[in-house]
């Protein structure tokens, strides 16, 4: 089913709803974890029109309604690179390069999975299109509770790993052309009208052509006009992706496997953020070592949502294991919030309790980084989306 053909009534409003005389609300909690290093016990957060106006130990509350909260208040968590939320989206194998495709058009922000994420404390999720092609189009960033899709969050998805080499290259699978089979011959006998490639060198050649061709949407990632999401799994693929990003001054995020720590210096030099596909194998040794290496090198990184049934629990477990491997409490918490936001270029919008950021707040019954804590209430863009 063609991805493009789907029409969705998504609330496409880019910015949060701007009422002029919106009410101001002050949330007071036993502990406010700003995520920028400071913890106010007790602390207050002033919110107006979906944005954080002020954060501090005590703010003047005249003209604002005060909300007394028992527990720990923190910023909402940011999850990267999720595939599970796109539901039964068909993987589009029509062409090897799908520059124009937009996940935004095929995504239902109201689906129950998004609500569940919100209830578990994840307020922002970054989606990348599932793909078997070299370029799979633009991803999207959405708020889980309200389902608001951020306008500026659509990175161009470019694959550097072996997922793009798929044996079936022909879209006509199962479609009958009337009167039995006949087939198109590609330029030299191969049935491959869509220009699919089967090797890294072949894919690299097609990518270079597209980046240099001005009327291909892919060329916009050169120079950083459009951010990019470079998907790689092993170190050789990551090295090629980094070299490509440096060559064409691409900005954005590198989705990398557990061994990316060996290339921490190169990643830092390239300016890319990292989305760690954290724990594919049962042994997290490499993944936690990479988290330590990236932290030492000062590279912003977050974790990818992977487990289908328990996505948020796996996210928090990843942070916990990095903490046990040597990260400090706020370093591991940063990977769940501001670090992940910085990795996709949203540090000015989400990921911390700071003046001017979106009002995404989570109330916990214990320290946010602890596994033993439970989520009590969640606000997204200043609206309460769930309460225990």
């Amino acid at each position: 089913m063609f991805l493009l053909a789907l029409t969705v009534a998504a609330s496409l409003a880019g910015a949060p709803p701007q009422e002029t005389n919106a009410p101001t609300v002050v949330l007071r909690a036993d502990h406010v974890h700003t995520g920028t290093g400071a913890v106010h016990s007790p602390g207050m957060v002033k919110v107006r029109a979906g944005r954080i106006v002020d954060v501090g130990a005590s703010l003047n509350t005249d003209g604002a309604s005060v909300l007394e909260l028992k527990g720990h208040l923190s910023a909402g968590m940011v999850a990267l690179g999720d595939q599970t939320l796109l539901g039964e989206q068909g993987v589009d194998t029509t062409r090897f390069v799908l520059g124009e495709a937009e996940t935004r058009l095929g995504f239902d922000p109201r689906q129950p999975a998004m609500q569940r994420l919100a209830q578990e404390g994840v307020t922002t999720v970054v989606l990348t299109p599932p793909s078997h092609s070299l370029v799979a189009g633009r991803g999207l960033i959405a708020k889980t509770g309200t389902g608001r899709v951020l306008a500026n969050g659509q990175a161009m998805h470019v694959a550097f790993d072996a997922e793009m080499f798929v044996d079936r290259a022909d879209p006509m699978e199962g479609q009958d052309f009337g009167g039995g089979f006949f087939f198109f011959f590609g330029p030299n006998g191969a049935v491959n009208p869509n220009g699919y490639k089967s090797s890294y060198s072949g894919a690299a050649e097609v990518l270079e052509e597209n980046v240099q061709d001005p009327n291909s949407p892919v060329s916009k990632i050169a120079g950083g006009e459009v951010t990019a999401w470079l998907r790689s799994s092993d170190r050789a693929e990551s090295a090629r992706a980094i070299a490509f990003a440096k060559r064409h001054k691409v900005q954005g995020t590198l989705e990398a496997g557990p061994r990316i720590g060996d290339l921490a210096a190169e990643v830092k030099a390239s300016g890319l953020g990292v989305a760690l596909t954290m724990f594919r194998e049962t042994d997290p040794h490499f993944a936690t070592q990479s988290a330590l290496a990236l932290t030492r090198a000062g590279v912003p990184y977050g974790f990818c949502l992977s487990a289908k049934e328990q996505p948020v629990a796996s996210l928090r477990m990843a942070a916990a294991l990095c903490r046990r491997a040597g990260l400090t409490a706020d370093q591991s918490w940063r990977a769940l919030t501001s670090g992940a936001a910085q990795a996709v270029g949203l540090e000015k919008q989400v990921g911390a309790l700071r003046q001017g950021l979106d009002a995404d707040l989570v109330l916990w019954d214990g320290q946010p980084g602890e596994l033993t804590s439970r989520v009590l209430q969640v606000w997204v863009d200043g609206q309460k989306v769930s309460a225990r």
């Binding site: 609500q115 578990e120 049962t282 992977s306 289908k308 328990q310 928090r316 903490r323 046990r324």
Partner: protein, 528 residues
Amino acid sequence: MRFLVKRSPFLLAVGLASSISTGWAQEANGSHDWEGSLVAAAPSETPFALQDGNEEEGKPKEANAQKDDSKDDSKDDDEKKSKAKKKDKDKDEEKPEPLSLAAPQGPVLYLKGERVIVRPGKEIENGQVIVRDGRIMAVGTDLEAPEGARVLEGAVICAGFMDSFSTLGLDRASLTTSGSEPSARTVDALDFFGPDHDRQNALKAGVLVAESHIAMNADFGGTGVLLRTGWAHDPEKRLLTDESAMWSRLERSGNVVTRVEEVDSLISKLESGGDYLKSWRTYETKLAEWEKEIAELEEELEKDFKKAKKDREKDIEKAKEKGKEHKEKRHKEPKPPRKPRFDPDKEILGRVIEGKMPLVVVATRAAVLRNLLEATKPFPSLRLVIAGGDQALHVAPELAARKIPVMVWPSEPLSSSSVPSDTRGSLELAGDLARAGIPVVIGSGFSGSSAALPLYASLAVGYGLPEEHALAAITTRPAAAFGMQNELGQVRRGRRAELLILDGDPLAVGTQVQFAISGGEVVLEPQK
């Protein structure tokens, strides 16, 4: 050889089900999404007691195991996370005994900690523990360091964690074979020579004791072992017991009919084991009677041998006169009883049904559990443990009544393919079971890793299991499940010295293990 799971992607789950939202929705509208839920929804109203499972009738252990008859059912007022002091009914028998005069074989240790967690729910501030000859000699608040003892200090002293279902030390073939027999012994299959990262990580995470067993998919997989992760390379010291439990796996096949037969064949095999032991006992008694009878007969014959000799000579004379051949007198005597044929499998199953060793049954579906509980009712001595138990809530009252522990592990149920997805246990399962009064045990599971056991326990707390139950699920409960409640799981006099010194709360994520004491010796300490 370390067992690296490369099979279908492993899903995080403390028996995790897709119905994670139940935790949330359930709170809001009060209805549990199990069909016809038996458990009152809001956890906070249902008071439940932190029973310590079958604390009393433990396995008879060597001499100085002090009979622990104090039933410490401290009430636990469970508003989340509060550490209110509990009213403690059991007497404070921590008076230090005079130290025995004999010279100690192993090192003597003197541990000092700001918090000594005697057992989940009972703590001592600024306590000390003296360890000698592999045992805890004394626990108290004003103990002097015995002369020559090594002093170890830290924030928290608690019992070593115990993984009730680990795969440490077993190669893939031993784990997955379904062709095992009850008499097969896991101790023969242990191999710690391969890459050893899992075990070292488990030790660093504080898991000092792990239960390993072979043949996951067999009807009777043979006897498991309880091994000390700190002593894996010492064939003697690593074994706490080479008969921890007999493991059996139900739901081996997909279709319903065979699943019913599985339970019947399980019980009939156990019964045949019981009959086998009975037949040996009857043989021994009959043999004794026969020997007594024969001895009497012989005595009698000895007595009138002379007479018999004379009679015989007379008969021979008579026979010669008649020219006939003399026929000896027929001698009849009772036959010795027949010795039953030795059968190692039946012998071990007999000991299981007589309760010498617990039987752990891996089952997830409600129908199978109901069938199993029904079938095991006539055998009170059988010490049953359920492993998996994703739908155990359906039979919760009976499990609670018979105090049958349920072992939960954070991996998809073993037969993920044949278990309908909605029945898979959710992170809330542990909490729900505890609220229903069932002793909960947490294991790392078939494709889990022992090193993350404490993190699983913390996560279970994050999804509704009270903190004390979580700590109990990795210390006292597994010990009780394997009949070692007088040996492990608590910091009390007489228990084996399997202790940890931590730099923070056992269930906190950032906590690191400072010292680990196993078998009475320090097996892990910070590198200088």
